[in-house]
């Protein structure tokens, strides 16, 4: 154990694995954030783009504990709030997605391959949009002068958004999941 620590501590700062790994992780999040406002051809269905942050959270949570997943959901939710509007918040939906994904893998119902990840992303996209729609509905019911439309319109729109987002996100999920997971696996074996 000690020689390993000695060799890593002797490395210059920019070559240490934890630093490289965090740089890559942060860069991938930044990449997802910059993809959010773009509408590239092939990435749009009924005006809805893939939910890149959700794909990232699923990729992160597949092999991690619930707490790690929840923290990732919180951070990315706050980032998305920053890019859109903080009311209602995206943190809740992404935390739910992270925790559910982490729990799902624990029980080993599904194998860890690309198809099952696409399926998880499909289900989680529906979950995330439902959590947002629930928040909007609660706001509509409880706040007196709510700006939101009536409930039937919210849930009609929810159907559209959830379906297009789920289809697009699950199709694009392997593009993000595969390289990220490869990297994290390699980093885990190296360290």
């Amino acid at each position: 154990m000690t020689p390993v620590i000695r060799t890593t501590s002797r490395l210059p700062l920019f070559k240490r694995p934890w630093l490289i790994n965090s740089v890559v992780t942060v860069a991938s999040v930044l990449f997802c954030l910059l993809l959010l406002p773009t509408r590239l051809p092939g990435m749009e269905l009924l005006g809805v783009a893939p939910h890149w942050l959700l794909i990232w959270v699923v990729a992160w949570s597949v092999k991690r504990s619930q707490w790690q997943a929840a923290i990732a959901g919180l951070v990315l939710g706050l980032l998305q709030d920053a890019m859109t509007s903080p009311h209602p918040t995206h943190t809740l939906s992404l935390i739910v997605v992270g925790v559910l994904t982490a729990r799902l893998q624990k029980q080993r119902y599904l194998q860890e391959d690309i198809v099952s990840v696409a399926l998880i992303v499909f289900a989680m996209a529906v979950v995330a949009e439902t959590v947002l729609a629930l928040q909007i509905s609660v706001d509509q019911l409880l706040v007196a002068d709510s700006l939101y439309p009536p409930l039937n319109k919210i849930w009609l729109y929810h159907q559209q958004v959830a379906l297009s987002s789920a289809i697009l996100s699950s199709l694009w999920a392997p593009a993000l999941y595969y390289p990220l997971n490869r990297w994290w696996d390699r980093y885990a074996t190296e360290s």
Binding site: A49, T84, L147, P149, V161
Partner: protein, 269 residues
């Protein structure tokens, strides 16, 4: 003599063939094998390149230039349209390109490439050829984010231009908006032009929004009209940002102008 004749009868065909072969070879040699090369040309025809390489490159270069001209003409047309539209506006605004869309599925935003450095501030009004687009809700030094009128949380005080009937235009998320009237039996019909009213606190008055597409007078609690927006929100490329001071505080009453106090009967031409 007899011997010669017998030789001839036996070998006439052979001699003829040999003579023909030699003479035809001679003819070919005499004109430098032109016939052979012609034949070679015909046989290898499918393998030959259609045009010389230089010609091909030249042709594709000309095609590229032609296509570039088409693109420049289109760009020029779009900018001329915007410029003509700008000239019709009473105040000058900041011209901005649409560089992004909402980072989420529930909010209808656009991201513009002008920000606080160019004097854009939250509350400024965004229009495009066609009419109202939305208003700026957040700025960074070089970008700004505008909430579209089609967002479900957007409310615009509006009136029907012909009959002065007041209402509120609300977004429907999918690039459609509806207008809710205050009156139970509004004087409005399909095709009427809808503009912002002077009661609107967030938008300047008399900015065109769109036309009434259909009416639903039985809608509860208020009759409703579906509005077709006149600016093409899903395909916007250029917009103009106008400085505007929104009246955020509700305490200050907005005084109706003389125009709005006209009764519907008087306002009609």
């Amino acid at each position: 003599m007899f011997a010669l004749r017998r030789w001839w009868t036996r070998h006439a065909l052979t001699t003829g063939m040999v003579a023909l072969a030699i003479s035809s070879a001679w003819v070919l040699r005499a004109n430098d094998g032109a016939l052979l090369y012609e034949a070679y040309h015909w046989v290898t025809r499918p393998l030959q390149p259609g045009m010389s390489r230089e010609q091909q490159f030249e042709n594709s270069y000309i095609l590229e230039l032609q296509q570039r001209i088409v693109e420049l003409e289109n760009q020029n047309q779009a900018l001329q349209d915007l410029s003509a539209y700008e000239n019709t506006l009473p105040e000058d605004g900041v011209r901005a390109a649409v560089i992004g869309r909402g980072a989420d599925h529930w909010w209808q935003h656009i991201v513009l490439n002008r920000g606080s450095r160019q004097g854009v501030a939250p509350g400024h009004v965004v229009t495009a050829p066609g009419g109202l687009v939305g208003r700026v809700v957040a700025v960074s030094p070089n970008t700004s984010r505008a909430l579209l009128v089609s967002d479900p949380t957007s409310r615009v005080g509006a009136k029907v231009s012909r009959s002065r009937v007041m209402g509120v235009v609300r977004g429907q998320s999918n690039n459609r908006v509806v207008m809710e009237f205050f009156e139970k039996l509004p004087d409005a019909k399909a095709g009427d032009v809808v503009v912002t009213s002077s009661y609107s606190r967030l938008y300047p008055r008399d900015v065109p929004i769109g036309r009434i597409e259909s009416l639903d007078l039985t809608k509860s609690p208020a009759p409703e009209a579906t509005i077709q927006l006149s600016s093409p929100l899903p395909i916007l490329e250029w917009v103009v940002i106008h400085p505007f001071e929104p009246l955020e505080s509700v305490d200050i009453p907005t005084l109706p102008t003389a125009e709005d106090q006209l009764t519907p009967g008087e306002a009609r031409p």
